[in-house]
Structure formats: C-alpha cells, structure tokens
C-alpha cells in the first residue's frame, strides 16, 4: 500500500482523535488548547485530503484510491469491508467538507469563546467532521451509512447543545427521529440492492448494474427507498420539518451542518449511486419533482419568516431542492456543482447571521434590526456578496451553478414517456423559486442592514471579531469565484470534466437531450431569463422594504389567510402532530393499559389465578391430613400422567 492510499484512513481519524481528546479531557484544558486541537485536527485533515488528491487532480479526475482497512462484518453471505474510496467525486466532498469545517472551527473560537461548555462544543464539532468524512469516503453503502447516521447523531447533539432549554433539546430529538425515518428507507434500499447483487460495495453495485443484475423495477424500488433516506437527511418534502427547528443550535453549527455539509449528503449519495438512478427514469423523475416542489414551497415560506436564521433555514431547504432537481434530471455534476457553491455562500450567510446575532447579544428577529450596515461592515459586505450569489446574479458563484441546473432541466428529458413534462415542471418551479429566492434574500438584507435602526435602545452593538470576520471574507471570496470553474455558458467545463469519470456514464444513460440542447442562443436566452427573475425579486424587495416599508404589513392584512398559511409553514407540523404522533401515542396507551393490564394480565394471568384460588378452597377439603388419601391421589395422578404419555407416544 503506497503512502497516498494509507492516508485515507487518517483523514477522518484525525478529527475523531480531536473529538475524543477534547471530549474526555477538554474541561481540564485551557480554551486556546481546546481550540487548537479542534481547528488543528480539521486543518490537518484538509491538508491530508489535498495530499491524497494530488494524483486525481493531476489526472483530471481519472485516478482513484481505494484503501481497505479490515473486514468489518462477515456473516453468512454478507461480507463488508471497512474501506475508503477517493475519486473525483469524493475529492470535491472531502475538500469542501474539511475546508468549510476548518473555517467554521476558526469562526467558532470567537463565537463560542464565552460558552462554559467550550470543550464539549469542539468535541461534538470534530465528531461531526469525522462522521461526514466517513460518509463521503465510504467505499460501500454500510460504511457510508456509518457516516450517515453519525452525522445525524452529531446534529442531534449540536442542535440540543444548550440542552437546558427544553425547546432546543426537543429540536435535536426531532431531527434525529425524522432522520431515522429516512434512514429506514436507506436501509431497505440497501437490502434490496444486496438481494440483487450480493454485495454493497460501490464498485460491485456499479458492475452489477452494468451486467443487468438489477431489474428496472427493483432499481426503481431501491432508488425510491434510498431517496426516502435522502429526504430525511437533506430536508426535502415530506421529511424537511426538522431543519427549521434545527436552527436552535449554535449558529456556526447551522452554517456547517445544516447548510454547507450534512444536509447535502442526500445529493452526494444520489451522485455516488448515479449509475443506479440513471437506469430508473421513474425514480429520477420523482427526485426531480420532489426537489422542484421543495425548492418552491420552502422559498415561499422563506418570505414570511421573521427570524434571521429561519429565513436562511428555509432558503437551505429550497436550495437543496435545486440540487435534487439536478440529480433528478441526470445532471449529476450540476448537483455537485451547486452543492459546492452553496456550501460557500450559505456558510457565509449563516456565519454572517451569527455575527449579527453575536453583535446584538442574541437578537434574531429581523423586524427588530435595521441599519446595521455601518456598524458591521465586514458582515454586511460579505453577506451582500453571498446574497448576490444565492440570488443568482453573475458573476457570483450561485449564478453559474443554479443556471446550469435550470438549463439542464429545461434542455433535457429522460427515457420515461412523461419525463418531458416532469423536467419542464421542475424547470418552471425552479425559475419561480429563483425569483422568490432573490426577493426573500434582499428582504433579509434590507431589513437587517438597511433603513433605520429598529433596535431596542438598550442593546449595545458589539464590535466584529477578527476570528469571525476572516472566515467570512474567505467564504465570500469563494462565493464570488467558485462558479467560474464550471461556467459552461462561457465554454468552461472543467468541473463537469473533472467529475466525468464518476458520473459521466450515468449521465449519458439517464439523459435524452432535447433538440435545442446545443443551441447557444437559447442557452443564453435562458440565462438572461434567470438573471431577469433575480432582478424582479430584487426590485420587488426594494419596493416593499426600502421604498414603502408599510406595504408588506398591509399586504399581509389584505391576504390574511394566505399570509397565515405561509407564515405557519402550511401547518405541516401540526398535521403530523395530529394525524401521526397523537394517534400513535393514544394507541400505545391503549396497548399498555388495556391489552397488557386488562386483557393479558387480567383475563390471561390473574383470572385463572383467581379461578385456581377458588378451586383451592374446594381443594382444601381434600387436605384431610389422611396419609392414605394423599397416597391415593398421588397414585391416581401419576397413573393419569403415564396413561396420557403412553397414549401420546402411541404405545397403547
């Protein structure tokens, strides 16, 4: 095994080491030491990731490394290796995950400086990085699943980090449970694939798919179950409900886990298994449709939210929807492209919101902010750049990746006869959501940073800290330039070419080009359309929140029902509560109080016991104290038993 291969294991192990050291002994360490261990191990993981990917960059994505560590689970026909795979897809993920994590760790040294549970925080955060790296490096589905559930655990621990607040602890629990529902889908998908191929390693599955071992119907079933897992992890309809609540966690956690990395795991998984999704146009269409619908609905909710983090949370759900549109229409590289750019600008937005909240000592309501532009210049400018990126203004990163997705949805269809309509619908929902995105993001910027201050006069605005500003600057820089690697509009295809060895074949299988797919004028027209809707959103936001700031409230009054419907998030949580959670609870009480206590114990156990007690009263008369009588009954009993035995055995 050459050195580059044996490096792979160390990429996740370093953060794990940091987590263990800080978790067990961190409370006895000084704060700088805890921070150094936390940041250092993640930084080193990033460097190791760079070293390991050298060949893959040099070969433009062709090379790959596989490290088999040991045989993990072997039983019967099941044999699972603990092994890691680094190819062009996992290179991007490793570098994005480790890189963004490092920046957020640095930011956290400032943000969490005064928290008494500083060491516990860094231990959890490192544990998360470990799990996420296992997820993206896993060479087979069970190892991927280790990371998949591991990030869920860390998400649970970090959302409920301030566990003394019952609402925060509850939000963590909700995240874990909703993810678990998805995880069962993931497991069943795995079981189906194992039944067909007899292995769960990515390479074997790919080979099995190529050999036709996976029948189309089976592939559809497996993909849909896996996608159920993805809707849990990546907060898509119907399992998105945990993500907005997850904002209860510390803001750097929201930036890292609930925006940049963990929630993109579902997109990564589909790209990883693109060869499988490609042979199921049905499942792919479902993915695209659910993605489009989520992008649109979450964007509408984003309009009405007043909590700065909640706006960004729904925005994340919405942007993840775009990524699913991409992988659903077979544009796997575009999904990963948007995943990467989104990681930069959304992390920047969340960290920016954290800087605002930190400066205002905990205020999160944007209706009580305003005019912070001058007081928080670093935050304002980086936030603005990232807003331009997410809203899809060129030349910022989000424009290129989002436009790529929309164009691919518009210009392609698949082998399913009705896919043509699905792709068009996905495009339609996507472009509409793009306008809304631009609107709610500028609403956020205007309400927070522009206009007059609506701050409570008692609040003193703190200065910006360097440990927080520098990561913001780096991320804003990335949010500006990261799109250029894949600006296919200008004929730059480096990103797609780099991923081609992993997802290229699947894309060819999945996609049927429309006749105008190579027509550059139409492509340019579509791009102009995307920019136009971004301007419409910006213009509307300017009208409503700068020009005449009273209008929004009047509109909300005028369309009261619609406003309340959207503001209350379409009452989806309430629906789940009333139709799923309560009935299960009531049924459980019934099983306990009635089935266990009354039926089984009452009739089944204590009933006969009482009966026997009654017989016992009769029987007491037999206990006369007469030894001969006892002997008689003893004899009769034994004889009866033997007679029965003899009959049963068939001797008589």
């Amino acid at each position: 095994m050459d050195i580059k291969t044996s490096i792979l294991l160390w990429i996740p192990l370093l953060p794990l080491f940091g987590a263990i050291v800080n978790g067990l002994f961190g409370r006895h360490f000084s704060r700088p030491l805890v921070s150094a261990i936390g940041c250092g191990t993640v930084g080193m993981a990033f460097v190791l990731g760079l070293v390991a990917s050298a060949d893959i960059f040099a070969s433009n994505g062709e090379a790959r490394l596989v490290q088999s560590v040991y045989a993990w689970i072997t039983a019967g026909n099941i044999s699972i290796q603990l092994s890691f795979l680094l190819d062009s897809l996992s290179v991007i993920m490793v570098l994005v995950v480790a890189g963004v994590s490092f920046l957020i760790h640095v930011y956290s040294t400032g943000y969490m400086r005064d928290d008494p549970s500083h060491a516990r925080y860094f231990a959890y955060l490192n544990l998360f990085v470990f799990s996420m790296l296992v997820l993206v490096l896993g060479d087979n589905l069970p190892v991927l699943f280790v990371g998949w559930e591991g990030v869920g655990l860390c998400s649970y621990l970090l959302i409920g980090f301030w566990f003394e607040d019952p609402a925060k602890a509850s939000a963590g629990k909700k995240a874990f449970i909703v993810n678990r529902i998805g995880d069962l889908g993931f497991l069943i998908g795995m079981f189906l694939l194992f039944g067909a191929v007899g292995s769960l390693s990515i390479d074997d599955l790919r080979a099995g798919t190529a050999q036709g071992l996976i029948a189309p119907g089976l592939a559809t079933a497996a993909c849909l179950f896996l996608f159920l897992g993805a809707t849990g992890k990546s907060a898509q309809i119907p399992l998105y409900v945990w993500l907005p609540d997850a904002m209860a966690g510390p803001t750097p956690v929201s930036a890292l886990i609930h925006a940049a990395t963990m929630v993109t795991a579902g997109v990564y998984m589909i790209a990883r298994l693109s060869f499988l999704f490609a042979i199921s146009p049905t499942a792919s269409a479902v993915v695209a449709l659910v993605g489009g619908l989520t992008a649109l609905i979450a964007a509408t909710i984003g309009i009405t939210q007043k909590d700065i983090k909640k706006v960004l949370a729904y925005s994340t759900v919405s942007q993840l929807g775009y990524m699913f549109v991409a992988v659903g229409v077979g544009a796997y590289f575009a999904g990963i492209f948007h995943l990467m750019t989104h990681a930069f600008f959304k992390a920047c937005l969340f960290l920016g919101s954290g800087a605002v909240i930190h400066a205002l000592s905990g205020v999160q309501d944007i209706t009580k902010m305003g005019g912070l532009r001058k007081k928080l210049p670093w935050t304002y400018w980086t936030f603005l750049i990232s807003t331009l990126a997410i809203a899809g203004f060129p030349p910022f990163a989000g424009f290129f990746s989002k436009d790529e997705i929309l164009w691919k949805a518009l210009s392609s269809t698949s082998h399913a006869p009705w896919a043509s309509w699905v792709h068009l619908a996905a495009y339609g929902m996507g472009i509409l959501a793009a306008a809304i995105t631009s609107f709610y993001m500028f609403r956020l910027v205007f309400l927070t940073f522009h206009g007059k201050s609506r701050l409570d006069p008692s609040i003193h605005v703190h200065h910006e800290m360097k440990s927080m500003s520098y990561p913001l600057a780096v991320l804003a820089g990335l949010a500006t330039v990261a799109g250029w690697v894949g600006a296919s509009l200008f004929g730059i295809h480096s990103f797609a070419d780099f991923l081609d060895p992993v997802v290229g074949a699947a894309q060819k299988t999945a996609v049927v080009m429309r006749d105008f797919a190579h027509n550059h004028s139409i492509e340019w027209a579509a791009a102009v359309g995307s920019v136009a809707v971004a301007f419409i959103g910006l213009g509307l936001a300017w009208l409503l929140y700068i020009k005449s700031p009273d209008t929004p409230w009047r509109l909300a009054e005028r369309f009261r029902f619609t406003y309340r419907l959207v503001f209350n998030k379409y009452w989806v949580d309430e629906f789940y509560e009333a139709f799923i959670i309560r009935p299960i609870h009531a049924f459980s009480v019934f099983l306990w109080r009635i089935v266990d206590v009354v039926i089984i114990d009452g009739f089944g156990v204590n009933g006969p016991a009482r009966l026997l007690k009654g017989i016992g009263h009769v029987g007491r008369r037999l206990q006369s104290g007469n030894v001969q009588a006892y002997a008689f009954w003893l004899f009769a009993g034994v004889a009866g038993a033997l007679l029965y035995l003899a009959l049963a055995v068939g001797v008589i």
Binding site: I78, P142, D165, L184, I188, G217, H585, V589
Partner: protein, 534 residues
C-alpha cells in the same frame, strides 16, 4: 475433542464453591461476603476467558467436552461442552457477574450473605444451562436458576416484590412443567425406538417423531422458551419482575436469563423437532415482529424508567427471535450477536437506573430533568448505552440489528415457509419500524431525564458517578465499541456453529430440498411482478 483438564467443570462449579464459602463468613461481616463474591466472580471470568481463547474458532462441533456417566440405568450423563452458540453466552454470563456484584455495594445492605449466595448460585445455574449437553442435566440447571432469582426479587425487591416474584415464578414454572412433560415423551420415544434409555442431547436429536407429535412437543418446548424470552403475549411478568428486582437482579435477568429462552430455541426446540419448527416459524416470526412493535410502543408511554427499559427488552428480543426464524446464517448469527448486545446495553442501562435510584429512591421520569448539568459523566454513560440500544453504527447494537434485518429481508427460507415471496421483506420492513420507535422512546426518555432545566430541588445536589460506579461502566463501554467496530472477532467464532445449526435444521426438516426447487420459481415470480410494475 476430549479435553484433558476439565476446564468447563472448573468454570461451572467455581461459583458454587464461592457460594458455600460465603456461608462460612460470619453474619456480621458483609464486607467480606461481598469481596469474596467479587473475587470468585472475577476468577471465574478469568477461567471463562481461558475457555474463550482455547476454543478453536474454525471447528464446527462441540469442544472441550466432558462426559461421565451419571445415572446408568436411565442413560443420564454429566455431559458438558461448548460450541460457538454457547461460547458467547458463557462469556457474557461470566463478564456480567462481577459487574452485577459491584453494583450491590451500596444497594444491598440487608442480608448480604444471602444475596451473594443467591447471585453465585444463580451463576452456577446459568452457566450450567449453557454448558449442559444432556437434557436431564440441563433441566436441573434450568430449574436451579429459578430459585435464587425468585428470592432475589422476593427478598431484596421493591414494594410489590411478592406479587412480582410469584408472577415470575409461576410463569416460568408453567413453561417448565410443559417442557418436562415433553422431555419425558422424547425420552420414552427414544427408548421405544432404540431399546436404550438416554438423556444425551445429541443422541436424542436422532429421535424420529411423526410430524403431528413433533408439533405438540415443539409447542411445549417453545412455550417454555417463549415465556422466558419473553415473546408477546407472554411478556407481562417481565416489567413487574424488573421493576421490583434489585439492580443486580435486573441486570442478570435482562442480560442472561432472558437469553435462556432464545438459546433454548437454538439448542433444543429447533434441532430436536426441525419439521415442527419450520411449520411453527411463520407463527413465531410474526409474534417476534409483533413483539418488536408492541414492546416499543408500550415503552413509549411508560412513566418509570426501569419499566420503559423492561418493555424495550421485549422489543429487542423480538429481533433475536426474528433472526433465528429467518434461518439464514447471517440473520441467525445476527440474532445470536444481538443476544450479547442486548445483554451489554440493557444491562448497562439497568445499572445506570440503579445508580440514580440509589440517590433519589424514585425512577419516575417526571421527577427528573436537567441531570446532564449536574451529573455529566452519568449522562455521558447513559448516552452511550442509549446509542448502543438504538443501534447506532459503530456500536454493537447496529451490527446485530443490521445482520438480522438484512438476513431476514433476503432470507430464502421465509418465502418458502410463508408461501409468499415477499415474506422476508415485509417482516424486515415492519421490524425496521421498531428501529425508528426505539430511537423515539429512548431519546424522549433521555430528554426528559437529562435535558431541560434542573428544576427539581431534590436533583440539585446529586453527585456524579463515584469511582466504583465509573469503574463498572468502563468495561461495558469498551465492549460496546469493540463489538461495534470489530464484530468479526466474535462472529468468526460463532459462524461455524450457526452454519451447522441452519444447515441441520434446513436439511432435516426437508426445507433445504424445498428451497432447492424453489429459487428458480421465486426468481421468475419476482421478475414477473417487476415487469408487470414497469
């Protein structure tokens, strides 16, 4: 393979010697009794480790066999041996004894000698039941376990200890009596067929019965074991027994005694009556899945932590039974590993409940809240046990559940036995819901006990784990992660015996032959359905 040194006998009888020595300790010196019991159990653990490492993992058959004639006229022998199936359970038993004894240092102050005597006697019964290869010998040990456990609940138990102890005793006895009758039938039938009397298990495996008789005999054995597991609907003794039992009793009850039931299916019920067994499998598998969901749902609404964990056992043991019923090496190995996993994680949870009960004399969930603030190490240990219990990957619980589910899902036996191609998928799918419910009831309980404000004044001065309590946790945590990361260390030793079990049951029940004819038909059937769906 005859072993020269009777190491299994040493393992088996050492606790008895310890128990007898304890009787010699003066009544007013409980400390000596405790330390003696601890020393004996630790020594026994060392012997168990020697047994474990002298076990040849590659061999299929029984090893370290000791066989002496005992009652010649009836063919009763003192026949001990160990294979992959009993190996893990013996090690588990020996591993948990010192831990259970350490947990009593503050909890049991009354009649300490009696308690230590009981716990060591119980140890003899459990080890004997796992090691015995003679049904008569097995039955003696099986009944022997009952008595010390009865006293542990009845004397050192909680407020309703008499009710719980009697219920425990009667439930188990009811099953045992039926089993005894069935054993006698087998005994006489063997004599009728061969002219010899024997109680040697391996000889009795060869007894021929008409299927109709097998059904009755299997039913009797299965009922005895199902009560012990306990399977739904024979589980209602368990919550009462657990709630009333002292911590050490709960730990042993959950970790080892329940495994007697599942072990009984593997060692006795299935191999003795394979044809009846496979006919019963659909019924048992459905009860197992019902138990998984039922136990989880009822656990969800419990107000007492210990009762919640007791019901979770019903759910977890359902996975074990499902794994056995799937009759595939993967699922059955998973089931066996899950027996150990449940012993470790549930044993640890009961220990932890004991820790808080000693401090607060209540286990009502509503009495707590915010304990993580006051007792961080306690919360840490509880969290690890919880994660193992909900089967998080990296912990032991995942490996067992994963193998059971994937083996059941893709079982080639279940579709044939149910006569339905989707049987395995449906059972595993429904059982999988139990995994979700497991996370719900555990995390909800954890939230109410550990998170939120530390509002109750009674909890504000609670002390975190003492050194003794922490020392008990360390080996348990180590095992949780060791099995989670290196399950093959155990699976490889289990595998040959499980393979043999599965093949033997399949072969003698004619199931193997049916499956040989079946796969072609099934595969085409599935493919047709798939095409139809397209």
């Amino acid at each position: 393979m005859e072993s020269s040194f009777p190491i299994l006998s040493l393992l088996l009888w050492m606790p008895l010697i310890g128990a007898l020595l304890i009787l010699l300790v003066p009544r007013d010196n409980p400390k000596v009794a405790r330390n003696l019991a601890l020393a004996v159990s630790l020594l026994d653990l060392v012997v168990a480790l020697v047994v474990f490492f002298s076990f040849n993992p590659l061999a299929r058959g029984t090893q370290l066999v000791e066989k002496w004639t005992w009652i010649e006229g009836l063919g009763v022998s003192y026949h001990l041996g160990i294979d992959g199936i009993s190996l893990l359970l013996v090690l588990l038993t020996a591993f948990l004894a010192p831990i259970a004894i350490l947990s009593t240092y503050r909890a049991v102050t009354d009649r300490v000698r009696g308690f230590m005597f009981s716990i060591l006697l119980l140890q003899v019964g459990m080890l004997g039941a796992f090691l015995a290869l003679d049904v008569f010998l097995f039955y003696i040990f099986w009944e022997l376990m009952l008595i010390p456990m009865y006293f542990m609940i009845g004397i050192w138990g909680g407020a309703r200890r008499i009710y719980a102890a009697v219920k425990f005793f009667l439930f188990t006895l009811f099953g045992s009596v039926l089993m005894l009758v069935a054993i006698l039938v087998v005994f006489f039938t063997y004599h009728a067929q061969t002219g010899n009397y024997t109680t040697d298990l391996y000889l009795l495996y060869g007894t021929q019965f008409p299927v109709s008789v097998q059904m009755w005999l299997f039913g009797a054995f299965a009922l005895a074991f199902a009560i012990k597991v306990p399977m739904f609907p024979f589980h209602t003794w368990l919550p009462d027994a657990h709630v009333e039992a002292p911590t050490a009793g709960s730990v042993i009850l959950a970790a080892v005694l329940l495994k007697m039931g599942t072990y009984g299916f593997l060692r006795f019920a299935f191999p003795l009556f394979p044809e009846a067994a496979v006919r019963f499998v659909p019924f048992i598998a459905i009860l197992a899945v019902v138990g998984i969901i039922y136990g989880a749902l009822v656990a969800l609404v419990q107000k007492d932590i210990k009762k919640l964990i007791a019901y979770s056992s019903v759910s977890h043991l359902g996975f074990v039974m499902l794994g056995i019923c799937a009759l595939t090496p993967a699922a059955t190995s998973g089931g066996l590993l899950q027996m150990v996993n449940h012993g470790i994680s549930t044993g640890m949870l009961f220990l932890l409940v004991g820790v808080i009960y000693e401090r607060r004399h209540t286990r009502e969930i509503t009495e707590f809240g915010g304990l993580a603030k006051q007792m961080p190490w306690y919360a840490f240990c509880f969290m690890i046990a919880t994660l193992a219990s909900v089967g998080l990957p990296g912990t032991n619980g995942f490996v067992g559940e994963f193998l059971v589910l994937i083996g059941t899902f893709n079982s080639d036996a279940l579709p044939v036995l149910f006569g339905s191609p989707m049987a395995g998928q449906v059972l595993a799918g429904v059982a999988g819901l139990g995994v979700i419910l497991g996370a719900i009831y555990m995390l909800w309980m954890v939230q109410r006990v550990f998170f939120g404000p530390l509002a109750n004044p009674a909890n504000q001065k609670l002390k975190d784990l003492s050194l003794r309590e922490a020392v008990v946790m360390v080996p348990l945590i180590a095992v949780i992660f060791f099995i989670g990361l290196f399950p093959n260390f155990f699976l490889s030793r289990v595998e040959p015996s499980i393979q043999a079990f599965v093949q033997d049951v399949r072969h003698r029940s004619q199931l193997a032959q049916k499956i040989d004819r079946e796969p072609a038909r099934l595969a085409t059937h599935i493919l047709e359905e798939v095409r139809h769906d397209q």
